[in-house]
């Protein structure tokens, strides 16, 4: 479903702040795979997601989604195949617009927008049922401004928006990192439910090793712009945090694993 071929990305090229974010990354995702992507700060995991989504143009290499080369497509064109949820709950939704207006915008992703009315009565009923499945009590507050919602509610809504029109690829960029632990668990449960029910091909970036091990059927670890580990199937199911750390130690040639953010799992 997704093929990333020999992608390079360097920021601030030619200056003292030069930073190689992606160093010859290749990655293939089959249809229905749920991949967790883990790595420390600056490992390039968010950059990879942003390159796939078209936020950043790649320096070299190609990105293929479902057989179509999207490497040169602008962000809003690629969006028709992608569902995205961001780390910051403020970024995934339009705060000054109503819940139903946000959903209606997402429902039209990839469609040509016209001068037809922005939301229909039939859609409204559909959204109400859909919000009911979240069990957050949002189904009776369709016309509430999204800015009034909590971070967790906003992320749950953003998830719904990302998957409302079934994406070929779902990109989750640490979408629970800004939430309190209890809410994070709830949003992750909703995530798993939606991904499983719709058999969505998913790439989920996380800081949290336990989450990376617990969710999905394949785990990828990045370090300094490269893929260090790629574990799937039975091996992934048996994985523990300790084993992941020791394998990281070997793979990164004895380099100390000092990233607090990764150890804090």
């Amino acid at each position: 479903m997704l093929a990333v071929n020999n992608v390079y990305k360097t920021f601030n090229s030619g200056t003292v702040n030069e930073k190689t974010a992606l160093n010859n990354i290749s990655l293939h995702l089959g249809a229905g795979e749920f991949v967790t992507l883990i790595g420390g700060n600056g490992s390039g995991k968010s950059t990879l997601l942003n390159c796939i989504a078209g936020v950043h143009a790649v320096d070299k290499g190609s990105i293929i989604i479902d057989g179509v080369d999207v490497t040169r497509q602008p962000e809003h064109v690629r969006a028709k195949d992608l569902g995205r949820v961001f780390q910051d709950p403020m970024l995934g939704t339009a705060a000054d617009m109503q819940i139903e207006e946000n959903l209606a915008l997402a429902y039209r992703r990839g469609k040509r927008r016209s001068l037809r009315w922005g939301i229909t009565a039939k859609e409204r009923r559909f959204y109400r049922d859909l919000l009911g499945t979240l069990e957050l009590g949002l189904e009776d507050r369709l016309s509430l401004k999204v800015g009034m919602l909590s971070g967790g509610q906003r992320q749950a809504l953003a998830l719904l928006m990302a998957t409302l029109k079934e994406p070929k690829l779902l990109l989750l960029d640490e979408h629970t990192a800004a939430l309190d632990p209890k809410t994070a668990v709830k949003v992750l449960e909703i995530t798993e439910k939606i991904v499983m029910e719709n058999k969505l091909t998913t790439l989920m970036v996380t800081h949290n090793m336990r989450d990376a091990i617990r969710y999905g059927n394949r785990l990828i670890m990045m370090h300094e712009g490269r893929i260090l580990l790629d574990i799937e199937g039975e091996a992934k199911k048996k994985l523990t945090v300790e084993e992941l750390l020791s394998r990281f130690g070997q793979a990164s040639s004895g380099e100390e694993f000092t990233q607090d953010s990764v150890l804090l799992s």
Partner: protein, 308 residues
């Protein structure tokens, strides 16, 4: 007194078309668009020159709208395609328009004395000429107020519809959260351009109406107009609330009228007309800084209370 208020209502209605244009860029798109200063004069210049050359006044107003839209498009291209900051893009177009407007007018100002305007047919209507209005000395104002009010109402209904459509919603989403809009497949560059085009089309229409009401177009008529637009917008929001979209649009019109009433009042109290722009600028600066003033006053009050 009645004449003063009617005059303020008349000017407020005509200028409210511009205020609505400023609202689209400033509040919906989140851009302070200085193109307005040039496109309002452009609207006046195009309309005046067209009428002077023998065109139908309605056709002249239509041409003015097209001119304003082109100005908005120019700013939109500078900002979205050439990546020049929005404020600077507006300034560049505004400055360029000064020369273009001079070319349109051929000189610094053009009089429309004894020419037919969009308001002429209304001024001659019998019910506007009736004794009651004439007796109060306001039939002249009513000849402008009635068509202007109809025009503003039409614009409000049209915009209310438009911003509820799929494209209109996409423009609102772009202004509210452009990253989210792109992730939902919205071409945010096109939406910003479209917003600027609509906004400046309205501003130019306002300029065309102003020129026809005052009976001349002047190269200087745009100076300070963005501040007048912002003042009207903020007065409208503060005094008349910002609940639904329809009431928001209506509050812009009421804000523009209130602004004119305030101006008429301070002039009547003996303020020099030369100080008007200073007064308006201070009003807007004060209104825009209200949130900061409010919070620091709250801090102060809290501090005093805890000090005791």
């Amino acid at each position: 007194m009645l004449q003063m208020i009617m005059s303020a209502v008349m000017l407020g209605l005509i200028w409210s078309v511009m205020t609505i244009g400023v609202y689209i860029t400033f509040r919906i798109l989140g851009i302070a668009d200085l193109t307005v200063e040039g496109s309002i004069a452009m609207g006046g210049a195009i309309a005046a020159q067209a009428i002077y050359s023998g065109s139908d006044p309605y056709w002249a107003a239509f041409l003015a709208i097209l001119g304003g839209m082109a100005a908005g498009l120019a700013t939109g291209i500078l900002h979205t395609k050439l990546k020049i900051p929005a404020l600077l893009s507006g300034i560049l177009t505004m400055i360029a328009l000064y020369s273009i407007n001079l070319r349109i007018l051929g000189k610094a100002n053009l009089s429309l004395l004894r020419m037919n305007t969009v308001f002429s047919p209304f001024k001659e209507m019998s019910f506007i000429q009736n004794k009651a209005f004439a007796g109060w000395g306001i039939s002249h104002f009513m000849g402008v107020i009635i068509p202007a009010a109809l025009c503003v109402l039409g614009i409000i209904i049209l915009l209310y519809w438009f911003f509820g459509t799929e494209i209109g919603s996409a423009i609102r989403a772009t202004g509210n959260n452009s990253q989210m809009a792109r992730a939902q497949g919205i071409n945010t560059n096109n939406m910003i351009m479209l917003g600027l085009i609509i906004s400046n089309g309205l501003v130019a229409l306002s300029g065309a109406l102003i020129a026809q009401q005052q009976g001349f177009a002047d190269i200087q008529m745009g100076i300070g107009s963005i501040v007048i637009g912002l003042a009207s917008l903020i007065i409208g929001e503060v005094l008349f609330g910002k609940r639904g979209f329809f009431s928001r649009l209506l509050s812009l019109v009421l804000g523009a009228i209130t602004y004119r009433i305030i101006i008429a009042f301070v002039l009547d109290r003996g303020m020099s007309p030369n100080d008007l722009k200073l007064f308006t600028a201070l009003t807007v600066a004060f209104a825009l800084s209200l949130p900061v003033i409010k919070s620091s006053v709250q801090q102060l009050v809290k501090g005093i209370r805890e000090g005791r």
